[in-house]
Amino acid sequence: MHKKDLGLAVLIIIVGAVVYLRNPLFLSPINLGNTANLIGLFGLFAIGQGFVIMTGGIDLSVGSMIALLGVIFVDMVGKFGVPWPVAILVVIAIGTLLGLAHGFLITKLKMQPFVVTLCGLLIYRGVARGYTGEATAGFPFGANYPGLEWLTIGRSFGIPHSFYAMIFIGVVCWLLLHRSVFGRHLQAVGKNEDAARYSGIRTGFVITAAYVICAVLTAVAAVYFAMFTRSVQPSSHGNFYELYAIAAAVLGGFSLRGGEGSIIGVVLGVVLLQELQNLVNLLGIPSSLNFAVMGVVILFGVLADQQFNRYRAKRKAANALGLLTKKGSTRREAPAATDEIR
């Protein structure tokens, strides 16, 4: 665990402790289960977004993709009677294609990731709304898909399966990003694309792969979301989720310039965001202040974490000097060297 992740974990625990003291139901199994479910759902695609941000790109199409694929999935299963495992495969296949399209436009046709995925944001939701004619896609009343439901909204030992899914995918992605050759290449491309190419890395392939991973995880999340809400309203389903994912990643230590971030970080980012959502409801804070509370906690949390790190770097530099000069007559304080430039 990186130091950055640790700071975030501490923030999560502090916030949790405060909430628990004010309402002990925070730690009730029911509440933990509900929150774990949401963490699982949001975690799935936030992890995907992490891969894209690692390349220095951005995927704004996530929320719309969740709406479009959700509509397709629900219609396939509920309306056309496609067996659900087939439907899942189809949705994942479509996700893969969309990811490939993003990657192609970005690496081969040299378009800016922001433009490409902004168009994705507009088009996918537009198609979903046009396809359904603004109607909500839902399962017929009383329809039952035991296997699918077990997989998506079932629980084992009180823990929702969406959470297990997120943990499983998180572990795989952790290995992929932090331990595999591909992960190293991804980080290299994010840090300095030119230097990566000069080192023989197939930058185009690596970047495309990141968008495909993001789209596939988003497709998986779309299935989970569709089953969670059991219906998909194309105009609002998944709205703003891309911002959620990006925020989780940035909170978790990803840099939008690329090359920095960890899977643990983005998962913790999701945990914090969901904890804040949950807190507002549990403490009976007016929902209108929901966002304000979230904003304030994030602002001060990140600030405290950062100031603490700066202080530590300062101390370290001062120590180094003190040890070597053995004079201890430092007139000025050594400034922090690890200050991030913005």
């Binding site: 595999s180 290299a188 840090k191 230097a195 990566a196 080192s199 023989g200 197939r202 090359g259 180094a320």
Partner: protein
Amino acid sequence: MTSESDRKRPLLVLESISKAYPGVVALSNVSMSVMAGEVLALIGENGAGKSTLMKILGGIVQPSSGHIIVDDIRCDQFHVTESQSAGIAFVHQELNVFDNLDVAANMFLGREIRSGFLGLLDDKTMRAAAEPLLRRVGATFKPDTLVADLSLAERQLLEIAKALSIKARVIIMDEPTSSLTLSETKTLMNVIADLKAEGIAVIYISHRLSEIEECADRVFALRDGKAAGELSKFEINHDAMIRMMIGRDLNSLYAPPAKPAGGAILSLTAVRTGAKPSALVEFDIHYGEILGVAGLVGAGRTELAEAIFGIGTILEGEIMLAGKPFKAASPRDAIEAGVYLVPEDRKRTGLLLESAICENICLADLSAVSRNGFVSQNLVKARAEDQRAKLGIRTTDVMRTTAELSGGNQQKVVLGKWLSMRPILIIFDEPTRGIDVASKVEIYRLMRALADAGVGVMMISSDMEEVIGVSDRIVVLREGEIAGSLSRSEFSEHNVLKLAVGAD
């Protein structure tokens, strides 16, 4: 010391400066003074603390302790603004130009000329003012050129011209010639002489000791962040400087080949590159030799090397590598075929500055340090430690960020990346840019060992001494074409220059 220094008071005094970074002490207790109208050379090995000391003088880095005295006034705060108002101009080692602005805008950044009622930018006047300065440093590009279109050497000239545009009393030049060829260097030497005559002090940092012999009035040496002594004008010579820098003598810079050159390892026949389509290139590199490639700034050496390496296109012609046709569509192809390039611009194309040293060293060959597709951090470190020992990379830990290294040590990391692999042909583009003498010797020895082991070695260099000393054969490029080839017996500055300039 002498009666002369009693008469003149120093313009600038640095008094017991120390600087600590987390885990590293870059400078400890260094004192130094600068007189008006002198050329003070600052020497030291890579990582000795030269740039750090100068950055403190430039107000970019704040010292951990110690202070700066300007005109007998002690400054408590010394930031960029104080430094500028003290009349200090700075040519940075790592170039700091702005791609998105034109040459004139870069030159006058922070000191823009305004005109009119609204005080808007007066680009016309700035460009006009830039023109003579560019000419003075021997630059051929126009003031309204976008900097993105300049080569590394041209950017370096721009930085120098920018320093000249400031009405400075002290000009710091941190390795200004590291990517310049002989003719620009000569021009710069003349400029320095002029500055001196005007009473402007120059602090000159370079690893090219002959330049220092030529221009310096006084030499100040740093070793491991501490002052290591001074030489006055009459004491300055190669050996004395080396002794002060590394604390011992250094013998024989260049080693001869073990055996005479064999057949061609790489041969280019009637090659035209996309970058310079009008030029026809033909040459061979033989087994066991080091082929030096010389030429003026912008002669197209880098572009040729990159074309071989799979960046940019080969329009026509044939390339043979070890007897087989060779065509790289991307660096990956080239690397898989055993053809490596040490690029000239390490900041842009050589390194992941924000990554650890060991990451950089293993980047091009991760499969060798991984099992079943998973990278083994132990193997990564072991490989990096190996290169650190071989190349003498100065750092406490290979896990440290590469950006924290001094310029020369960064260059060694780039070399380490390729030397840890199995080359068939290595192209070195300015391999010793910013590298200290002791390490240069080490790199020359490595190149020689590679050549002796049957690896093809092509060395692009703008350092005349190096080209003549290291190469077994030299080809000279002029405007993208091979202007001629010289064998060892024909080597001389004069002959190389004659071919490079095209004069008779």
